[in-house]
Symmetry: C2
Subunit: 323 residues, 2 copies
């Protein structure tokens, strides 16, 4: 394998999720030279088939001389390529790098590691349950990337999605975080519940209806009740199927915001798809809060930045987690 | 048709819902002489086929001389036998009886009416929305039945189910009510969401896990977040699939209770299936509140009691709703 020359310093960065596989070739300065995306999420890969899918999708980049591959996301779960046990919070670059799961596969001609997800223990005052665990996989790299790109070490990251994450960062480490099932609930409610009959989940975003939903949620009414209101608004022809989808979205995102101390946060970074971060930015604006938004670049920046915390050579055995 | 004799005074009481059809033959004293249940909910009846299903299921009771048939439930919805427009709150026996939807069908040899559901307008302080409507169909008869059986005219009725109803009653009339999608959410979360992998929705009820869920909800944490906790408790092997179902049920019912001023209520009646009213009774007990529970008898008592508010003869045209 080439040990000198420009290509040898390239990082092969992968975000291998449940339903999709994305990759980027990144040079030593952190510049993304090329990106690829495949519908080859871990659920589509047969047992023992990860090295082959990797070769099919990125073999040419490996042969071009990339020296290291870092993979984030569900590839590190029990159902993935190799399980990377969660890194316990507080966790920053060094903690995550120390718990990389190196893949020992003779078929691999590039040193390859999976980034562990994070876990934290949230205080819980219940009999027999002093704490409740929370977990993330993939978002930790986006948070590290946001810190790297933004040059800050203290703040709050909101990562909207199927399972939204709210992560607090102090002195360059994620101290704790909480998950909200907002995106999954929106999908279930708008597509599987009674509301599916009268909500057009494919309708374009309606900012006015979204704002109404946000306002309703902020008034403190219960989501179990408010969601039924989306049904009766339709039954009494007071809102049409298109706006109803945005109203429901506003109810859910508003409920998520209400559960968090947004006004006490100093610096908020939103990380996710533009369509989602736009909605959260609108929601935060109703609290008078401005947030910086970023997308896929956070993932590539996080994996790039992690490179500077790697050991100089590939460990010969998988790293044993210490937490 | 017989106009005298004991059988002529029998009421044919039907609860015709979305997925099931139940019927009872009730004598003048309100005694249920016989009950039947069929999997012939309105969704299984082809357009124009209601009279035939009615004849197949209850024709012998009609020929035995029953004089009146009262039907509650979704048979009065747009998709039902004949639409019975909602009766607006406040509504008691007289209001509901005045808005019965009499069915004009030459094939019918018994005077037959559908009981309207109730609607109410809940205050709502949103631009362009001063009120939000709420609706019920079928539960109004159960509430009237509970009043009739209990001999009270002021109180709170909780009707757990797919869409739970909390109804306030003053001076013998339902003043307003609120719907909570608790039962439907439990089904979606335990069977369709990420949680379905690790929650055993068929497991027997676990009172300890249920109590933990109730306590967690009462501590004020957000349901969108708490539900994900049911996932991580499983991921970290801190709760098994069976108890997790009861924990999740406790989270949801606890959230429903938290949204209501249960401690301010004077008299609480729970109406529903024993397995559900048992859970709500346990939940109310954590607030130090005792509630009376009733089941199907409330439906039959409500339809029986409505009989005393009927006009003496069948209206020749359908009653026109005044609200």
């Amino acid at each position: 394998m080439a040990s000198t020359g420009e290509a040898s310093a390239h990082l092969l960065a992968l975000d291998w999720g449940t339903s999709s596989l994305r990759g980027a070739r990144i040079n030593e300065q952190g510049q993304v030279l090329e990106e690829r995306a495949f519908q080859r999420g871990i659920l589509s890969v047969p047992a023992g088939g990860f090295a082959q899918v990797f070769e099919e999708c990125f073999g040419d980049w490996v042969r071009a001389g990339a020296r290291t591959c870092l993979i984030s996301g569900m590839a590190g779960s029990k159902q993935g390529w190799a399980e990377a046990p969660y890194c316990a919070c507080p966790a920053g670059f060094a903690d995550v790098a120390a718990q990389l799961r190196w893949i020992q596969d003779p078929a691999l001609t590039i040193r390859t590691a999976i980034v562990p997800g994070l876990s934290c223990e949230l205080p819980c005052d219940l009999p027999g349950l002093n704490t409740l665990p929370d977990v993330m996989r993939g978002e930790e790299v986006q948070i590290l990337g946001a810190m790297h790109l933004g040059g800050w070490r203290d703040g709050l990251c909101i990562l909207p999605g199927t399972h939204s994450k709210w992560a607090r960062i102090q002195d360059g480490r994620v101290t704790d975080f909480r998950t909200f099932m907002t995106g999954e609930w929106y999908a279930l409610l708008s597509q599987q519940s009674l509301l599916a009959r009268t909500v057009d989940a494919q309708a374009p975003f309606d900012p006015n209806a979204f704002a109404l939903g946000l306002a309703r949620a902020r008034q403190g009414h219960n989501l179990l009740h408010n969601a039924f209101g989306a049904r009766t608004l339709s039954l009494f022809a007071r809102m049409e199927a298109g706006p109803l989808a945005s109203y429901l979205s506003g109810l859910l995102i508003g409920e998520e915001l209400r559960a968090n101390d947004v006004q006490g946060a100093r610096r908020i970074t939103l990380i996710g798809s533009p369509s989602l971060t736009q909605r959260y930015a609108l929601a935060l604006a109703t609290y008078g809060i401005t947030a910086q938004a970023m997308g896929a670049e956070a993932t590539w920046a996080g994996l790039h930045a992690l490179r500077h915390h790697l050991p100089q050579s590939t460990p010969t055995t998988p790293t044993t987690p210490t937490a």
